[in-house]
């Protein structure tokens, strides 16, 4: 198996989800057969792919594009075909989700999206992916000789396997036709300093039991004490208290952070589906029969208005 991994740089280093994808590639083949590819990344960031187990790292240098799917998928498909890669891995993030299917069309390869587990069965890859927002999991076999996979962030743990090893670095200028430049990203606005709920390692979510949108400051305070992101139930998003970008659940985001704290959320099926794969779950709710308590590691039956300020103080006191 010869594996290409799309990686991305963030503030001078490889993104964590990129390192996770390289680690996952090492489950499929040996480091010699793994190449990291990036668009407009720095040499130092790409070389660091070596310590996660990618022997080679290649940069596609093209300042006129910013990761638009038609262009980036052409670059990756061309590179994979010219260099006989049979498998391409992506992080299942906004870029990977758009680019991977297009690459699968070009490579005539089976594609499994949002994988949480990988195994090799004979000459086929069998991937595990959550379906129905995590209410079930499917084991999916790729029948084609080539494989495309996108991996859910925060699931595969990034592992340094060769400290100090640098990947063999090279750079090239891709050829792009007008057609592949049909989509143009004209500007990017990020909420700097604000963690996205889907990427955060700790998530604190609030629900309708908070009674008023202003009371979300209790949730925000705990999130900031823990260094986490704020999430919300569908009920409070539908009520207009919080933006849709914070919604956790079946019609929002599916998250699997190290710690999920559900505050005044009763636990509708569609919410549980979006967060039950979190590694550690804490719930605070005054109703001891709330469904959320069925899936928690630690539940506090109590009033959020009393518990949250105390918990926030005690966590702050630890720092």
């Amino acid at each position: 198996m010869k594996v290409l991994v799309l990686v991305e740089e963030h503030k001078g280093s490889l993104k964590r989800s990129s390192c996770e994808a390289i680690t996952a590639a090492n489950q499929l083949t040996s480091s010699d057969n793994i190449t990291a590819i990036a668009l407009n990344a720095s040499e130092s960031a790409l070389k660091s792919a070596g310590k996660y187990g990618a022997s080679n790292a290649v940069n596609a240098s093209e300042s006129s594009i910013k990761g638009e799917a038609p262009a980036l998928s052409k670059i990756i498909s061309d590179y994979a075909l010219q260099n006989s890669f049979d498998t391409v891995l992506f992080a299942a993030d906004s870029i990977g989700k758009e680019v991977a299917p297009r690459v699968s069309v070009k490579l005539e390869a089976g594609y499994v999206a949002d994988c949480v587990g990988l195994e090799v069965n004979g000459s086929n890859i069998v991937a595990t992916k959550p379906v129905y927002a995590g209410k079930a999991q499917a084991k999916v076999k790729i029948n084609t000789s080539k494989n495309i996979l996108s991996l859910r962030p925060n699931v595969f743990t990034a592992k340094v396997i060769a400290e100090g090893t640098e990947a063999n670095y090279s750079s090239f200028t891709p050829t792009l036709d007008d057609k592949s430049k049909s989509v143009k990203i004209t500007s990017i606005s990020k909420n700097e300093g604000k963690l996205d709920v889907a990427e955060a390692d700790i998530v604190v979510s609030g629900g309708r039991g908070l009674k008023e949108p202003e009371h979300f400051n209790l949730v925000e305070n705990l999130a900031s004490a823990l260094g986490g992101a704020v999430g919300a139930s569908r009920a409070v998003v539908d009520a207009g208290w919080r933006p849709h970008s914070e919604q956790v659940g079946q019609t929002g985001k599916t998250v699997s952070p190290s710690l999920y704290v559900a505050c005044a959320i009763s636990g509708a099926v569609q919410h549980l589906a979006g967060m039950s794969s979190s590694k550690f779950i804490v719930a605070i709710n005054k109703d001891a029969d709330a469904p959320i308590f069925k899936i928690t590691d630690y539940g506090i039956v109590g009033d959020v208005f009393e518990v949250l300020p105390k918990l926030t103080e005690k966590i702050k006191a630890r720092h």
Binding site: A69, V99, P101, R102, Q137, K141, I188, I202, I300
Partner: protein
Amino acid sequence: MNILVCVSRVPDTAAKIKVAGDNKSVETTGVKFILNPYDEYALEEAIQLQESKGGELTVLTVAGDEATDILRTALAMGADKAIHIKANQLEKDSFYVANNIANVAKELNPDIIFLGKQSIDFDSFQISSLLGGLLDLPSVDVVSSINYADGSITGEKDIEGGKESFETSLPAIISVQKGIKEPRYPKLPQIMKAKQKPIEVKEAIETPLRTEILEMTLPEKARAGKILTGSDADIDELVRLLHEDAKVI
């Protein structure tokens, strides 16, 4: 402007999922099925676009006989006609669906194809980009607002922790985010009228499965399930557990 909206039929978000006897699919008996919620947003965007620019609005699904209900819902919301690509093959993968849509889209030649950003059954968010690849057309996903110009559109899409502004030439494929426009609820007269609107049935072209489900399971994770109270001592205990067991603080 000729508009195509691709829709799918999925279990209701409140449905409890059970694995069927074949261990490869989910039990459908007693489960309420609905028009995929994200597709409702795609339809609403399409209906308002048609109201302002004219043209024909076609809704399409690739599914078995059972999917007539969601096509009627889409027609009641405002689509002019429906195409039901009858999938006889029992097992389908995303490529099968996209290949069949692409096949019909080549005849229809729409100016814009709308879809929901994902269908809430398999959550693979790939049909839009597969169509982009198969039809060699631009595609943009998770779009939260659109402005229409002649031969092109501009808009915004959601990314992690922010938004991107984009522009693309038409024809193009757009998958929409929840909330782009609030979907309408069809009233009785529209529901009655929808019964007269045409549903064209086409046989699916068989497409070998590129991926196949071997097994479906329900996730089981052992949880400590310890219940504490809101007392000071219990909150101290929780903080200790977060530090020592969960190792997150």
